[in-house]
Symmetry: C2
Subunit: 101 residues, 2 copies
Amino acid sequence: MENHSIDENKCPAETLLKQLSGKWKPQIIRIAVTEPVRFNTLLRQLEGSNKQSVATALKELEEQQLLTKTVIKLKPLHIEYTLSEKGKALIPVFRHIEDFS
Amino acid sequence: MENHSIDENKCPAETLLKQLSGKWKPQIIRIAVTEPVRFNTLLRQLEGSNKQSVATALKELEEQQLLTKTVIKLKPLHIEYTLSEKGKALIPVFRHIEDFS
DNA sequence: TCAATTAGTCAAATTTTTATGACTATCTAC
DNA sequence: GTAGATAGTCATAAAAATTTGACTAATTGA
C-alpha cells in the first residue's frame, strides 16, 4: 500500500539531487559534457574509483536517461556513453550550481 | 599529507551537490525558504525523520553557513534556523534544479 | 590456440549514512 | 519541587553506499 503516485515528493529539487548523488556521478557527467566517456578511460580518470562503482554509476545514469549507451563496432569493441538530450539540459543547471561557489 | 589545497575538486559542482546531499537537507532548505524552521516542528513536518538525523542536518547546514541559528528568548525558549545570505543565494539555484524536471 | 584488450559481473567486506531508544538540560507554570 | 515543553546528545543498531578481488565474455592479432 505504498507508492501510489509517481512522485509524492514534497521537495521538487530532491528528485534531481538524488539522481546526481553518489561519489562518482557528478564527475562522470562533467567529463561527459566535453567528450563521450568510456568505461576503462573513466576508471583511469577518476582517481580512487573502481570497476563496480563506475559500472553502477554508468548504469544508473543510463537508466535515468541522462547518458546514452552506444556500442561502437570497432577493432576491439568500444562502448561509449554520451549525454542524451535530457543530459544536455543538465549543462546549464550544472553551470548554476557551479556559479554558487 | 592530505588536503593540501582547499579544494582539489575536479568537478566544481560537486562541492555544492555534496553539501546538499543527505536524506533531509533538501526538504529542510525548501521549508526554510518560506519560513524559519524549528527543531520539533521539522521533526513533525518531515515524515519518517528522527531527532538524530534532523539535528545532524541542521548542524551541518549551519556549519556550511546556509542556515543561521538564532536563540529566541521566549516563554519556553525557541531556537530558529533561517536562511543566511548565502542560503538565500541558493534559492535561484534550487529553482533551476526544479525546472529541470 | 593463446594472449591481450575492452567491458563488464558477482559475492563479500568495508565504510558511511541513517535510525532507535534512552537520556540530558533549560525554562515555565503550577 | 514536579510536570510539561523545547531542543537537543549519546551509544548502539540497522541499512545503504562503496570498495575489493576474483571471475566472465566477446573480439582481435600473433
